[in-house]
């Protein structure tokens, strides 16, 4: 009896928390369709803010920058992180404490310290050498830096989860290391690679602070644009961009759900 009331309370609590979690997002979505420029009341439905978006070159440029940044950085991070992940696995019996510390560093460093030290460094470096002018290039560098650890850890944990005898078998099957990599290793860790890529991509799109401090005049991303717009005090348009970004996240969530379902099913079938 008591157990049931507890469960009922918990169920109620669950729904309240869900409202808490989705209310701010729902408000943004709702007001993006508001006919008037008011944050307090809905005066009717309209798509005028979305029309304004399409005509706004800056937003379109910011959208392009966001994509280019996320794709470039994720690809580079995937290659480098994958190598580290494999190295960590293959040499896991050695003392690699320093490497672990190095890999955790980008994760534990507060964003603001991360962003500011990169900015100060790039500025000074640019002053001395003329290279690394703040812009998309420096942003890609910064993003790769915080993506590498996540890729490495995902790839590493995938390798750890594999049966070690598989590696021996692969050695017998394929003569050269290159063939082993192409025909055995990459296919086996493919799920890890895909999830690492998506995680890197999400991390990049989600980042504001580090991008903000490493950006140049022409490399504003959507979050930076939104930040500027909030600071400037223009809001209905922000609702519209934000809604599109929320929509993208919702789609990503649905895809990841499908993926995990599929994986569960295939795992069940295997066993």
């Amino acid at each position: 009896m008591r157990k049931r009331t507890l469960k009922r309370c918990l169920t109620a609590f669950w729904w309240i928390t869900l409202v808490f979690l989705y209310l701010p997002l729902a408000v943004v979505v709702l007001f993006s369709f508001n006919a008037s420029n008011s944050a307090a009341s809905m005066t009717g439905l309209s798509l005028r803010w979305y029309h304004q978006l399409l005509g706004n070159e800056q937003i379109m440029a910011a959208f392009g920058n966001t994509l280019v940044l996320a794709i470039c950085s994720s690809v580079i991070a995937l290659v480098i992180g994958c190598l580290i992940g494999y190295g960590m696995y293959r040499h896991r019996h050695r003392k690699l404490g320093w490497l672990i510390v190095l890999i955790y560093l980008p994760i534990v460093l507060p964003d603001i310290v991360f962003g500011i030290s990169e900015m100060a460094f790039f500025v000074q470096f640019h002053r001395l050498t003329g290279l690394l002018q703040p812009g998309l290039g420096t942003m890609v560098i910064a993003h790769v830096t915080f993506q590498i650890p996540f890729v490495a850890l995902i790839v590493y944990s995938r390798f750890v989860g594999l049966d070690p005898t598989l590696f021996e078998a692969a050695k017998d099957l394929y003569a050269t290391p290159v063939k082993r990599v192409v025909h055995f290793m990459l296919p086996t860790i493919k799920p890890a690679l895909i999830s690492a890529f998506f995680l890197s991509f999400t991390l990049s799109v989600d980042d504001f602070v580090i991008s903000f401090f490493t950006a140049g005049p022409e490399s504003a991303t959507l979050p930076i644009y939104i930040w500027g717009a909030i600071k400037k005090g223009v809001s209905p348009e922000i609702n519209a961009i934000a809604t599109l970004m929320i929509g993208a996240v919702a789609i990503a969530a649905a895809i990841s759900l499908l993926f995990s379902r599929k994986n569960q099913h295939s795992r069940k079938r295997q066993s």
Partner: protein, 307 residues
Amino acid sequence: MSTNNIAVMGRSQGMVREARHLLFTVAPGALWIVIFLVLPSLYLMAVAFMSNGPYGLPQMPLSLNSFKQLAGVGFLGWSPGNLYTLLRSLWQTLVATGLVVLVAYPLAYYITICRAKWRPIMLLLVVVPSWTNQVIRTFGWMNLLAPGTPLSNAAEVLGFIPPNMGLYPSNFAVTLGLVYNFLPFMVLPLYAAFEKLDTAQVEAAQDLYARPARAFWHAVFPQTLPGLLAGIVLVAIPAFGMYVIPELLGGGKAMMLGNLVATQFSGGSNWPLGAAGAILMLIATFIGLFAMRRIGKRLGGGEEVVI
């Protein structure tokens, strides 16, 4: 003798190859992090020991002035502003982390007692909001808490806030924003801990202690402690250095250490002071990590406790 030699040679060759392999796989990433993160951080630390130029840029000679300023000692004698900001950051972190624990704990437990089929979806529902950009999430709260919105009006009627004001900007809004932002970070590790719960032990405790509260305290709580600690690390460290939320929801009343550091750079006033603040943040971060690790080890969780 000769075969022995060959074996030794073979082994050393193998070792060379292994070392080369290690170098080839690990070096690019390690170098990347060293060049693009360790060096910049070291440079930033060096900046903290330089003196402030007339227009906010670091210059020679070396000095400890920035640390003095951080402690509040300036041209004007001692003033407590920075100390207030530091205390406010600590307080906000403490309150937000506490609230996050209070919300996440029952939530994680509830998810574990639901049917296995639903659990991944429930976890996803908790996590998805954190996939949207931090600036957007915070902007959502700005919309919700502004003056004249239903929430603000309700708070006004109940007498929580003075008339005509909104719930934002305020310290309260910042706390709320922090809790919202970090809730998923706590739910996930707690859920993992609950999932591993040894039910036999719990049942034994239920038999042993009459009151469920005691059973909980002796059987359930210790088992979830590693997850709780991991969650605290994941929440408290980034919360302490938070920049976006106080900036947008605090309205200049609720400056935290992250903002103090950032304004020294983005307000163009004092790089060395900002760098000194960053060092303070780093120290706090590492103390936090170290303490959690120690406690975690004592509890027997070992390495996996930290993240």
